[in-house]
C-alpha cells in the first residue's frame, strides 16, 4: 500500500468518526426536541409523531439488513407483525408485563431471523429475498387463520399501554415520551453496533463480500447476524406498535407493507444512519399532511422512490450529502473528499 492511500484511509476514518459523533449529538438533540414537540399538537398529531418513531425502528432494522449487510428482506412487516402479536397476546391474554413481552418479541424475531437466514444465506444473496417473501406470506396466513390465538380478521382489541415505575402511560403525550425514550435507546444500541468492529465488518460485506471473506471476515455469520438483529428491530417496532394503536389486525403486516418498508429504507438513504428516520418521515408522516392526495399518495411515494433510485440511489440522505459537498466547494472550503 502506498503512502497517499494510507493517508487517505486515515483521513476517511477520522472524518467518519467525526460524522458518527455528530450522529450521536444529533440523536440526543433530536430526542430532546421530540420529547417536547407534541405540546399543543393535540392527540392526533402526537399519535402521528409516535407512529413515525415506531416505524423508524422497523426501518432502522431493515436498514441494517439492507444498507449495512446488503441483503434484502421482504418480511420486515411480517417481523413487526410477529412482535406486535406476541406483545398483544402476552399482555392481554396472559397478563405478562409489557417489558417482558417487549424482550420476548425481540428474542423471538431474532431467532426466527436466524432460522430463516441460515438456509437462505447458504446459497446466494437474492435467496434471502425469496425466503423472506415466502415467510411474510406465511405469517400473514397464520395471523388471519388461527382465530383461537390471533382473533383472525377481527384482530386483538384493548391492548394496554405499559406503565413506567407505577406511572400509567395511557395518555397520548405520556406514551409518546415513552416511545421517544425507547427509540433513543434502540438507536444508541444501533449506533454503537455500527461503530463497533462488528459494524465495520457489516459494511465490509456490503462493499465487497469476496474481499471481506479473503480478509478473514466470516461473511455468512456476519450477514446472518445483521439480518437477525434487523429482524429483532422489526419485532421491537411491532411490540411498540401494538400498545400505540391499541388494536391490531393482520392488515398492517402484509407483504405489500414489507415492500413499502423497504422503499422507505431506500428513500431515506440505505446505509445512512439517519436514513430510516427520513424514510419513515416520507412514508408515514408526509401522507398525513398530504391527506388530500388520499390513496394516490402510495403512487406518489413509489414514483418518488423510483425517481430517486434512478437519479440518486443513495436516497434523500445521499442527496443532502451531495448538496452539502457542492455548497462546500462553492464557498471554497475543502469538501471532505466527496465527489
Amino acid at each position: 500500500m502506498s503512502a497517499p492511500a494510507l493517508e487517505s484511509t486515515a483521513a476517511a476514518t477520522r472524518s467518519a468518526a467525526r460524522r458518527i459523533d455528530g450522529a450521536l449529538i444529533t440523536l440526543l438533540i433530536g430526542a430532546a426536541i421530540l420529547w417536547f414537540a407534541p405540546t399543543g399538537m393535540g392527540r392526533y398529531g402526537t399519535y402521528v409523531l409516535s407512529l413515525w418513531l415506531v416505524m423508524s425502528i422497523g426501518v432502522m432494522g431493515l436498514n441494517l439488513t439492507l444498507g449495512y449487510a446488503g441483503q434484502s428482506s421482504l418480511a420486515q412487516a411480517g417481523f413487526m407483525g410477529l412482535g406486535a402479536y406476541t406483545t398483544a397476546i402476552l399482555t392481554t391474554k396472559w397478563g405478562v408485563s409489557w417489558y417482558a413481552a417487549f424482550g420476548l418479541s425481540g428474542l423471538l424475531t431474532f431467532f426466527v431471523g436466524i432460522l430463516l437466514g441460515f438456509p437462505a444465506l447458504r446459497v446466494r444473496t437474492h435467496y434471502l429475498a425469496f425466503v423472506t417473501l415466502a415467510f411474510s406470506t406465511l405469517v400473514w396466513l397464520l395471523l388471519r387463520n388461527e382465530q383461537w390465538l390471533t382473533g383472525g380478521a377481527f384482530g386483538i382489541p384493548n391492548i394496554d399501554r405499559p406503565q413506567f415505575f407505577g406511572i400509567k402511560l395511557f395518555g397520548a403525550l405520556e406514551f409518546h415520551r415513552f416511545v421517544v425514550a425507547v427509540t433513543l435507546v434502540l438507536s444508541l444500541v444501533l449506533w454503537w453496533l455500527v461503530r463497533s468492529p462488528w459494524g465495520r465488518a457489516f459494511t465490509a460485506l456490503r462493499e465487497n463480500p469476496v474481499r471481506a471473506a479473503s480478509l478473514g471476515v466470516d461473511t455468512r455469520a456476519y450477514t446472518l447476524l445483521a439480518f437477525a438483529i434487523g429482524s429483532a428491530y422489526g419485532g421491537f417496532s411491532g411490540s411498540l406498535f401494538a400498545p400505540l394503536v391499541e388494536f391490531i389486525d393482520p392488515s398492517p403486516f402484509t407483504l405489500s407493507q414489507s415492500l413499502f418498508l423497504l422503499l422507505m429504507v431506500v428513500a431515506g438513504g440505505s446505509g445512512y444512519f439517519f436514513g430510516p428516520f427520513v424514510g419513515a418521515l416520507l412514508g408515514v408522516v408526509l401522507p398525513e399532511w398530504l391527506r388530500f392526495a388520499g390513496s394516490l399518495y402510495l403512487i406518489i411515494f413509489a414514483t418518488i422512490v423510483l425517481a430517486l433510485l434512478i437519479i440518486c440511489p443513495q436516497g434523500v440522505s445521499g442527496l443532502i450529502e451531495r448538496c452539502w459537498a457542492a455548497l462546500g466547494r462553492r464557498f471554497g472550503r475543502k469538501a471532505g473528499g466527496t465527489p
Binding site: 429475498a129 425466503v131 434512478i310
Partner: protein
C-alpha cells in the same frame, strides 16, 4: 378419481399460467440481471388496460384489445427497459430489484385508482361449458388455457432454439461480451427479451382474467407463484420455469382440494423452502459459479 382428474386439470391450467409468467421472469433475469418483482402486476395489467380502452373510447372488444396490448407492450416491454432498467443496471442487482418493487406498487395502485377497486368480468374467448373426460367434469376454459399456453411455450422454444434471431438472443444471455464481439446487436436482443416478456404476460393475462376476473390485486398471488416456480424449476432456463410452474399449479390445486383451503397458499411456499434447503439450484438448474 374423477374428482382428482378435475383438480389435476385445473392445477395444470393455472400452472401453465404461472409457467408463462415464470418464463418471462427467467428471460429477463438471464439477459439483464433484472429480478422483476412486478411480474405479477405485468400479468394483471393487460386485461385492465383492455377493459379501460373499451370503457374510455367505447370501442368494440377487439379494437380495445389491440390498443390495450399495444400500449402495454410499448410501456412495459420497451419503456420498462429504457426508463427503469437501463439507468439502474449500473447500480447493481439489488437497487434494480427494489425499483421493480416500486414499479409494482405504482402499477397496482394505478390500476386501483385509474380503473376500479372492484373485480371486473373479462370476456372469455372460449365457451365456458364443461366437458366430460373419463367421468370427470372439466371446464373447457381450462383445456383452452392449457392448449394456448403450451402452444405459446412451444413457439418460444422453437424461436429461441431454432431461429437465428433466437440463438442470437441466447448468446446474448449467456455471454454478452462474446456476443458483441461476434457482431450480435446485444442491445437490440435485450430489448427483444423485454418485449417477449411483455408478450408472455399479455398471453397469461388474456388466459387467466376470464376465470379470476380483472382486479388490481390479482398480481400478488400470480407474481409470488411465478417467482416460486422460477426458483423451484431452476433460475436459468425455460424448461425449469415450465416444470416449476406446472408443479406449483398442481400442488396449489390439490392442496386446496385435499389439505385446507385456508392454507392452500402455504403449500407452494413450503415447497420453495424445501427446494432452497435441498437443491438450491432448482430441479432442472445447473450450479452457478461465483464471480469475483
Amino acid at each position: 378419481m374423477a374428482e382428482f382428474i378435475a383438480y389435476l386439470i385445473a392445477g395444470i391450467a393455472t400452472g401453465a399460467i404461472y409457467a408463462l409468467a415464470a418464463i418471462g421472469f427467467t428471460l429477463v433475469w438471464q439477459t439483464s440481471q433484472t429480478i422483476n418483482f412486478a411480474q405479477g402486476e405485468f400479468v394483471m395489467l393487460p386485461a385492465v388496460l383492455i377493459l379501460l380502452a373499451v370503457k374510455l373510447f367505447g370501442l368494440p372488444l377487439w379494437a380495445g384489445g389491440l390498443i390495450g396490448i399495444a400500449v402495454f407492450l410499448l410501456v412495459f416491454g420497451a419503456g420498462f427497459k429504457l426508463v427503469v432498467v437501463d439507468p439502474m443496471i449500473k447500480h447493481g442487482v439489488l437497487p434494480l430489484a427494489i425499483a421493480t418493487m416500486a414499479l409494482s406498487i405504482i402499477m397496482k395502485e394505478g390500476a386501483k385508482d385509474g380503473f376500479s377497486a372492484e373485480a371486473q368480468s373479462f370476456p372469455s374467448l372460449v365457451p365456458t361449458d364443461m366437458i366430460n373426460i373419463l367421468g370427470a367434469a372439466i371446464s373447457l376454459q381450462h383445456v383452452a388455457i392449457i392448449v394456448v399456453a403450451f402452444a405459446a411455450i412451444g413457439l418460444l422454444q422453437w424461436f429461441v432454439g431454432g431461429t437465428r434471431l433466437g440463438r442470437q438472443m441466447q448468446a446474448t444471455a449467456q455471454n454478452p461480451t462474446v456476443a458483441r464481439i461476434l457482431g450480435i446487436p446485444v442491445e437490440r436482443m435485450v430489448l427483444l427479451t423485454f418485449l417477449l416478456n411483455a408478450a408472455l404476460a399479455v398471453v397469461a393475462s388474456l388466459l387467466i382474467s376470464p376465470i379470476y376476473l380483472a382486479k388490481f390485486s390479482n398480481g400478488e398471488t400470480i407474481g409470488l407463484f411465478a417467482f416460486i416456480a422460477a426458483i423451484v424449476g431452476g433460475f436459468n432456463q425455460i424448461r425449469g420455469a415450465l416444470v416449476g410452474g406446472l408443479l406449483i399449479g398442481v400442488a396449489d390445486s390439490l392442496a386446496a382440494a385435499y389439505v385446507s383451503t385456508q392454507y392452500r397458499m402455504a403449500v407452494p411456499l413450503i415447497l420453495l423452502v424445501a427446494i432452497i434447503l435441498i437443491k438450491p439450484e432448482g430441479l432442472m438448474g445447473r450450479k452457478e459459479e461465483r464471480r469475483v
